[in-house]
Amino acid sequence: VAPTVNSRTLAYWFYQGNIPTSTGARAVHKQNDCCNIDHWIRMSWQVGTHDMNFLNIDYAGNWSSVRAYASDGYDQYLLYNANYWRRGGCQNPVGLSTVWVNCHEGNTP
């Protein structure tokens, strides 16, 4: 069952699909738009599945992953400082099953 976000069709999801992807990647991420310090990643994923991760990567390749617990709901967000982190995205932890994910730059549904 795919996630049901009301205005999903109006939203800018930079990735909608399975993770791992068709190429086997367990993470998808996008360079954030310029100039706002506060940036958001919003992730909704297949209800009834497992925990996922939010992902940030900076200019030098440093990365940080924050686990999103399924028990808290399948639609969550992470706020991050874009002066520090250049990319934001979504990650399916290693060893776990394929999950349909909506990964969104922003916090609107």
Binding site: R26, A27, H29, D38, W40, D51, F54, L55, N56, I57, A60, G61, N62, W63, S64, S65, V66, R67, A68, Y69, S71, D72, G73, Q76, Y77, L78, L79, Y80, N81, Y84, W85, G89, Q91, P93, V94, G95, L96, N107
Partner: protein, 212 residues
Amino acid sequence: MTRDQVTALQKRRLIITCVAAVVAAAALALVASRFATPADAAKTRQARLWTWRTQVPGVAKNVPPLAAESARAGGLDPASVRTVVSTGGASLVAARSSAGGACFGLASATQASSFSCRLPSRREAVLIRLLSGGSDVTKVDYAVLVGVARADVGRVAVTTVTDGTANLLLNSWRGFGYAATAPGAFPSKLSVYGKNGSLLQQIDLGVLESPS
């Protein structure tokens, strides 16, 4: 039959009907209470285990700045945000829920998660958040675990990937934390024990993986 006798009979019937209705309502209430009491009591006990001496646990100082903005975005009062525990650059933060309980999230100097305001289930003795990262997308350099325990927890122990164990100190808000920078010390499992020593919960933390 006279008019007075008819009136008296009608009054008697009315009284009997009213008494019967009251008795039936009382019986229904009794039956309902017999069904509701254990569940209600369990729910009340569960809610009590997730309370603190203040409505929102933690201290108001050193709250990561993004945590307040994340609380605001979630419809919570940003002024209510507190730090429950901090370790390894990550904090478990709490905010007051609209229902008067506590909501929890993770925050660092550059990140803040959404807050969870749900009452944990009866099987959950702790609420945790996990942060990991590295200096290169091909490797994991650190892992940080922060959490908060319910009131009947006496001890929280972490098992590392090399099967080492360490007891985690519970602070005055029942917060706890663990940070590791050596791969062998990364956390793999959390065991939660009651004040009587019984095992309340075990959590498999999974494998930490780099993004590439």
